[in-house]
């Protein structure tokens, strides 16, 4: 009987009395290592990479990717995906800008409205996906076009000029920092911490993993799968709203239709580099945060090394392959071991 029971478990290193699932995945620890090495190397080979005036803007620029990536992590953990975030970001940003400029709403109110609008867009996605029971990639391809249409109509073929400079506190400027860290990145940290806590400690959060693991089984154990599945999309929407705010602040006093273009793939890249499994059931917000930093480090690093900036995308692609490949390899090894 005993040999039967011990047969299951690889013997080494499992003796600790953990009550909680693991806090840091291997992938996250490796990512932290990779980031440290990259930063040291970049610091050595560029004049300024490891200085405040380079790291601060880097954090500010990584913020929108991270803000979207955080919600996207929850979505992907439930085995979903949201391609519409870039279009959604444009809608939120233009609404915020127009409320402030054309309707003279006070800034906080306008930003809040834009963030809520993001949540609403997310709700729209979530409802279509759960009620239609169609693969989310297809639905969000579609809603992406619809949001884009809305955004363009609201822009009304113009740019929005004269966005108040006060928005700039959320950007990469000097007036928007606390202990040297840009406010926008502080928002990222707070949000990531919240969602990390939620997904790790609360029942609702753990249910995301269960749904991503096996939606049918989740239904059988009494999880309200449909309701639960909507939540990550709404979270993503809210994150997109925040990202719109930061993207606007990172930009100029003029907002153009191109805001946020291509950020959906950057956010997904950050999520998968962070070790979240695209087929669902596994992943964490912390990894995404690191992934976003890696994506932006690669982009800025390429430029600061004096290489062709267009190569940055190539390295992002390679980073995805290495990160996911390492994860696949590790999984294969543990499977062999057991």
């Amino acid at each position: 009987m005993t040999d039967l029971l011990t047969r299951d478990i690889p013997a080494a290193g499992k003796r600790r009395t953990r009550v909680l699932p693991r806090a840091l995945s291997t992938q996250e620890m490796v990512l932290i290592g990779v980031l440290i090495v990259l930063w040291i190397l970049l610091g050595a080979f560029t004049p300024n990479f490891l200085t405040a005036q380079s790291i601060q803007p880097l954090l500010a620029s990584a913020a929108p990717i991270a803000l979207i990536g955080i919600g996207m992590t929850a979505v992907i953990v439930t085995a979903g995906i949201d391609i519409s975030v870039a279009a959604m970001l444009m809608v939120c940003a233009v609404v915020m800008a127009k409320l402030m400029v054309d309707l003279s709403w006070p800034m906080p109110l306008a930003l809040l409205a834009g963030i809520l609008l993001g949540g609403l867009c997310g709700l729209f996605n979530g409802i279509l996906i759960t009620l239609g029971r169609v693969h989310p990639i297809i639905i969000t391809f579609g809603t992406s076009n619809i949001f884009m249409f809305l955004g363009w109509r609201i822009f009304d073929s113009k740019v929005v000029n004269g966005i108040p400079t006060s928005v700039g506190v959320l950007g990469r400027g000097a007036d928007g920092r606390f202990l040297g860290v840009p406010y926008s990145f502080l928002i990222v940290i707070v949000l990531a911490a919240l969602l990390w806590w939620y997904m790790r400690y609360t029942a609702g959060g753990r249910h995301f993993y269960a749904i991503g693991n096996d939606q049918n089984a989740a239904r059988l154990v009494g999880i309200r799968v449909q309701k639960r599945t909507i939540i990550p999309y709404v979270l993503t929407g809210l994150g997109v709203g925040l990202a719109a705010m930061v993207a606007m602040a990172n930009g100029t006093q003029t907002l153009a239709q191109s805001v946020g273009q291509g950020i959906e793939l950057q956010a997904i890249a950050a999520v998968v580099i962070g070790g979240t499994s695209i087929v669902g059931g596994r992943g964490s917000v912390l990894g995404t945060l690191l992934g976003a930093l890696l994506v932006q480090t690669v982009t800025s690093g390429t430029i600061q090394l004096g290489w062709a900036p267009q190569l940055a995308n190539f390295f992002v692609g390679v980073a995805i392959i290495i990160a996911v490949g390492a994860d696949l390899l590790q999984q294969r090894l543990t499977r062999k071991a057991s």
């Binding site: 300024n48 005036q53 803007p57 000029n161 990469r172 930009g251």
Partner: protein
């Protein structure tokens, strides 16, 4: 958006002039449209169609151009994203009896009968470089933040700028040209990275309307107003705050609305088969648009340098 005519150049003698910008929603082209609509109000027998693609690509633009050919407009004016790509389509339009012209960006190897030029590439490039050189004290490193990698006119301006600098300002040095698309946040981040990569960087050029603002924003955010000088090809309304605080030392542009007016007017002339004179008085503001028969180019005039004083007078 622009107002279409009833299309087809029906039974009346009105001339339908269609203009296809590089993309819609850009303040620059929308301002051209505003100017053209003024022309429609002023001039009898001119009908104006304005329709642009949703992204600044040759592909998307070709669809719109093709639609214009189907609509059998009288005159088709295009600001080509990629002149080479458009040349055959213009041929097709001409084969269908449509008069074709370019505006803003030329397609020299095409069958276009006229190019309405805002200013020569020479003029824009030289003025931009002169403005930057003056701000930088004619010495030091500078970098260029451009937008689309393949934008023909931006690339031609960059060429002129570089050549002019080598000739006239030997103490200046171009360290990098980067392309970061039409997103001002990305433009600004690239400018920031340039400032970090080249700590002695003294000058930045924002080569298109979004990056003109983007580079200025980057200088402002880095807190280096007065140390790093930026100039750009930006629309006045978006540049005002930056010009005022000094993060931008000047914006090189022309009166875009008048340029739109001129384009519409030129289209009408083309449609009616009128010969252009060597200098043309078009309206109160455009009194001497020069026409060169050699390269069939109608020129608005020299570029304007907007600064803190005059930029506020424009609402685009």
């Amino acid at each position: 958006g622009g107002d279409g005519g009833d299309g087809g150049g029906g039974g009346d003698d009105a001339v339908t002039v269609a203009f296809v910008p590089k993309l819609q929603g850009s303040p620059y082209f929308e301002a051209m449209n505003t100017g053209a609509e003024q022309a429609v109000e002023d001039i009898d027998g001119l009908e104006w169609i304005y329709q642009g693609p949703t992204d600044a690509s040759a592909t998307a633009q070709a669809d719109v151009v093709r639609s214009m050919i189907q609509q059998q407009v009288d005159v088709l004016i295009v600001a080509p994203n990629d002149p080479d790509s458009l040349a055959p389509l213009m041929q097709e339009a001409a084969d269908n009896g449509i008069k074709v012209a370019t505006s803003d960006t030329d397609a020299p190897d095409s069958v276009r009968e006229l190019f309405v030029s805002q200013a020569t590439a020479e003029g824009i490039g030289t003025t931009t470089m002169d403005t930057l050189a003056e701000a930088m004290g004619e010495e030091g490193e500078y970098a260029i933040v451009s937008c689309g990698e393949t934008a023909e006119n931006l690339n031609s301006w960059i060429e002129v700028e570089q050549a002019h600098q080598e000739e006239a300002y030997p103490d200046m040095e171009l360290v990098e040209v980067g392309y970061s698309g039409e997103d001002s946040a990305a433009n600004a981040q690239m400018a920031t990275d340039f400032m970090n990569a080249y700590p002695d960087l003294k000058g930045l050029i924002g080569q298109c309307t979004t990056s003109a603002v983007g580079v200025a924003q980057a200088v402002r955010d880095a807190g280096r107003v007065g140390e790093v000088f930026s100039v750009g090809v930006g629309t006045p309304a978006s540049m005002v705050p930056y010009l005022e605080e000094g993060s931008s030392s000047g914006s090189i542009l022309w009166d875009v609305e008048q340029f739109g007016y001129l384009t519409a007017w030129a289209g009408l002339q083309l449609g009616q088969g009128n010969e252009l004179a060597e200098t043309n008085a078009v309206n109160d503001a455009i009194t001497a648009a020069e026409y060169s028969a050699d390269d069939s180019t109608l020129l608005l005039g020299p570029p304007t340098v907007f600064d803190a004083e005059n930029a506020g007078e424009y609402d685009y």
